[in-house]
Structures are given as structure tokens and as C-alpha cells.
Amino acid sequence: MLADDFFLVSWDTTGTGKPRLHVRGLALGLAGALIGELVLHQRVIVRGVRLDLVDGHAVRESVADKVLADLRNSPHHTDVRTWLAYLAQRSVAEVSGRLVNSGLLEPENRKIFRRSRSRFFATDFGRAMWPVTRLRLALTRCGPLAPQDMALATLVDACDLTDAVLDDPGNRRAARDYLTTLLATMPQPLRDLSHQVYAAAGDAVLTYRT
């Protein structure tokens, strides 16, 4: 699933167990990925700032179906930004929960100064590293990407995480050019979605408060 891949890219599950991305960006990126899953399953369509439900049939995956149920219950909310803000409130918990239930991640809860911080460690190194590796190979070799990976690449870029994927700075310029091409050629609903996530992440910087 798209959100699982995004989580594995944005969280260092094979090393420190801590997120690579700041909390707000992580939550928004995962919210975008959850909507992206429904776009890929052709349940919703994103056009500009609008999000519309086109098929209410269950995807048969509990997290995605919960999002779908929310969309079904509130058809009057059609603004992508509203849904991103709403889903961002629970996206980290939902997606990490899904990965823990699947057995790929093991959580470790620590309490530091009364704040509990969860860490997640992968049980299978290869599977956990696969999304980052796949993305890195595709971006450095300008290889073809499946729609789900196109969505992943552009969401990762929308959250300013591309540099974390491309650990060799020499590859970054070419990869960025390729990402621009990707964005121009990818299916419109996915492109519009990643633009909305990019805008939401940017606004989160501009209105940041403690």
C-alpha cells in the first residue's frame, strides 16, 4: 500500500527507529498517501482543490476502508486540504498500526520527560528497505515507474524528503529534473494530490507555532 511505503521511506525503521521527517510533514505526507491509496483504487478522484468520491465500495483493507467511510459520511467536504488536515490527525497512528499488525514493524514506547515517543523497528530488513531502494534506483536511473511509485516519489518530494532518499548529493540535480518530468506526465488526480500536499506542507511552515 502507498501509505506503508511512504512510512517506510520517512521513518528510519532499520536504524534508529525514529522518523526521518518532522512530525507535521510526516502526518501530512501520510494523509496524502492515504488519499492516494483511494485514488489508485479508483474510489476517489482529485481535481484541482476538489476531492470527490466516485465509488464507495470497500477496498477490503481496514485503514483504507475507514478513510473511505469518512468520505462517504461527509460528502459535503470536498476540499482536499480539509481532508489532508483531518486525516493528518491520525495518519501516523493508523499507518504505523497497519504495519505493526502486518508484522513488519515492532513498536517500542519510551517515555522521555513525560512525553511518550514511539520508535518502530523493522522485523525484515529487506522488505523495510525496499521502497527507499526502489525509489532511489528509479530516480537515479530515470527508470519507468508504476503509478503507485510515481505517487510515492512525488509525495516524498512534496514533503522535502527526496534528499534523504538520494544519499549521494551528486544524483540530486538529475533526479529533481526527472521528478519534474514525472509530475508533468503522471495521472492528473495523483499530480493534483501531490501539489496539494506540497502546498499544505508549505503552509504548515508559514503558520508554524509551538
Binding site: R20, L21, H22, V23, R24, G25, G48, V49, D70, N73, S74, H77, T82, W83, A85, Y86, Q89, D160, L161, D163, A164, A184, Q188, R191, D192, H195, Q196, Y198, A199, A200, A201, G202, D203, A204, V205, L206, T207, Y208, R209, T210
Partner: protein, 520 residues
Amino acid sequence: MTRSTTRTGAGRDPVAGALAANRLGAPSVVYFVLSAAAPLTVVAGVITTGYAVTGITGLPIAFVVVGVVLSVFAVGYVAMARHMANAGAFYTYVTRGLGRPAGIAAAWMALVAYNTLQVALYGAFGVATAPLLEGWLGITPAWWAVSLVAWALVALLGMMRVDVNGRLLAVLLTAEVAVILLFDVADLINPAASGYSLETLSPAALFVPGVGALLVLATLGFVGFESSVVFSEESRQPRRTVPLATYSSVAIIAFVYALSSWAMTVATGPGQIVATARRDQAETIFLLAQAHLGPVVVDIARVLFATSVFAAMISFHNTTSRYFFALGRERVLPAVFGRTHTRSGAPKAGSIAQSTLGLATIVLYALLGLDPLVQLFFYGGAFGGLGVLLLIFVTAIAIIVFFAREPHGETLSRRLVAPVPAAIALAVMVWLALDNFWALLGVPQGDALARVLPAVYGVAALLGAGWALVLRARQPAVYAAVGMGAKAATAQNAAQTTAQTTAQTTAQNAAHDDTAQGTA
């Protein structure tokens, strides 16, 4: 009844309910605005140095007048904010009202102004901490050494995005205002021989040569009030919360500064305030208070002065790096300014640029042996304050033009009745400020510095407008999205999609025409 309806409504709409839980009320917005305004920095640093450098005593009435003008300006400002994609920055208003070249010109001016205001604070920090370091550790380090430590902390905190914790900031702000009011009371119950003279609060105090200097200084005190609209999307009832918070902030600032600057003149006597401020500089209010309140209270106040300056440094650092960021996202500045630090989410390039400028300024001032309080803090503040005044004025014009073109469902009073007098008053203020800039710097009339500094904004504006024309010719998609801030990407995307669709439609139509002709 209303409450139960609301509750049922929220129950029916879990999305709206969940999003509303996190929203801000007016008091929170006021706190955010005032903590950026750093009241003790203004009272202990700006007001006292203002008396000393300008030699004019009408500051108290200037705060009242500027407060009134800005309140009237705020009517149109908060009304227009409701129709903006990126409400936080003046240049976006100018863009919508007066066009993109004017908008980018304003953006360049704003970058100069806010950067200057930030680096100016490094001049105050050494002065604010000197008595403390001497009292506690018995050392008197050079101002630049202390400022370099502060600079390193600001650079680090800015990059790590460790804003001073909101609650801590609120506690500091409350303490600052409490100390200011306590000092005012002490000043007022111990008047000088001249008694409760209202001379400095009388409008007559404004009819003196160099009054423009006072108006710039007063405007400087209000810097930060414009940020209330940043929280439009995050406030509980944007139509009520944001205007209420803006008017309250302006009123509180006007009251506290007018009272404090007047109380000082009561304690020394209006005829003595300039001489006292020239002798005691930033120590003025502390020495005045020491006689009546004792050393402990005064030491606490000194600590708060230092924390106030430090909080203001961080606040202006973040404001400035976000300015860079918004322009980077619009691609008006290179795209690298629109990227964030992965781990912290801080606007990386903007933060580094701001810090570099700060370091260069401290080093330059130290090498040239310039005075940190007057030539860095006060001149920087005055220069930055002039920039903000110019921006407010241009925004006031933009508001009128914006609503003249399309009422956007706003009432006549918000579109015209308030904005027009505000713009006229601001025009007078700008004219006086430019004409009297020599008085603000404390240099003789006709001095080159008083002409060169304001001209910097003219150059910045020209360069900005020129850059806008370059963008229009070379990057129309970027040009189209100027003023959209972080939402620029979606607009650029829409512009490209429209262009593609138009191209496709044109191609299809051409093909259709060819077929039709072929058929014919």
C-alpha cells in the same frame, strides 16, 4: 440551546468537529502577536534611545496617533485578508491590489526591512546583558562577543526549529508587561518637580521639527501586529477572531507604550527626559526604577530585558526565514529557499541566509568599532521601521484598489470609509518620515546618511519590479502565481494544466477544422 445544537452539529460532522478542536481563539492570537512585539525591548531600548537620539519629547502622543491610524488601517487589512491565499505578508496584498511588479517590489523592500530589524537586535543584546554579566560574574566582555553567542544560539535554534516554547513565551510576555506597568506606577507616584505634566501627551508636541522621526519610532513599536492574519486558517471563527485579535493587539501596544513613554517624562520632568536618556541610555528605566523599587525588582527586570531581546531575535529570525521560504515556494527566489530541513521542517536556506547576514553585520560593526546601541540597534530599528511604514502605506493603497475593483461582499465601511482616511494619514506619515529622517538619525538636516538610507528601499523596489518583468517574460507560470505563498505550486500547476488544455483544444480544433475543410 445554541450549545446543544452546536454539539449535535459537531456530532453529525465529525470532520469539522475534529478540525475545530485545535483552533485558536482571539487571546491566543494576541499572545502570538505581542510576543513578537517584545514590549520590554521597545520600552527599555527603543523609547529611551529615541528620546536620546532625536531630542524630541512627543513620543507618547505619537504612539496614540499611530495606534489610531493603524486601527483604522486594520479595518480594510483584516477584510482583505479574508480573500488572500497567503495572508501573512504585506507583499501579497500589494500584488493583489497593485499588480505583480509592485508586489515583488514590496517583497524586496520587506526582505530588507525585516532582515534589518533582526540584525539590529544584536546591537541591543550586548547592552542588555552587560549589567547582568558585570553584576553576576564581574566581567565586562565586548558587546560583539555576547552578541556572537546570541547569534550562534539563534542560528542553531532557527535551524532546529526550536521556537521558544509558546507557553514559556507567554509567561515571559506576561512578566514583561507586568514589570513595565510596575515601573510606570513607580514613575507616576514619584513625579519630578514639574508634576503630572501632559506636555508630551498633547497633540501640540507633534508640531515640532522632526516629528516624522517620532512617527517612524512609534510604527516600529507596532511591528508584529500584521502577523495576526497569519492565523486566519487556524482560528476558531476567522471573521471574528482575527479582527478582534488585531484591534486588541494594536490597542494594547498603543496603551502600554504611550503610558510608559509618558511615565518616564513624568519621573524626570519633560524638560529633563532627553538629557537623562542621553546620559543613562538603555539603563534609563532601570535607574529610574531602582530608587523606588529596590535592586531585586530591577535585576529581575534586567533579566527580562535580555530575554525579551532574545525572544525578539528568534521571532524576527523566523519571520524573515519564512519570508524567504514563501518567495522560494513561489519561485520568485531560487527554489532552494522553498525547501525545508528534513528533520526539523525549518525553512533551511532562508534561515542560513538570515544568519549569514547577522554574522556579517556583527563582524562589520565590531571591526569598524561602531556603537552597538545607537548605530546598530537604533539606526537598524529606525531604518527597518521606515520600511515597515512604507509597506503599510503601499498596502493601504492596495486595499482601496482591490476593493474598488470588486467588493468581494465586504461592506462600504470596510472597503472605503476606513481605508481611504487610513491611506491619507499614512501618506502624511510617510512624507514626514522621509522629510525628517535626519532627525531620526540625530544627524544635521541635509546629511547624506538621511538620504541614502531611505533610498535603499527605492533601489530594492526598482530591482523587485525589474525582476517581476523578467519573470513575466521568461517564466509566465511563476509570474502568474506571485503572492500565493505556499499555494503557488497549485496555481502554477493549474496554469500549466490550463495551458496544456488550451494547447490540446487548439490542436483538436485545428484538426477538426482541417477535417471539416477536407470533408468540404
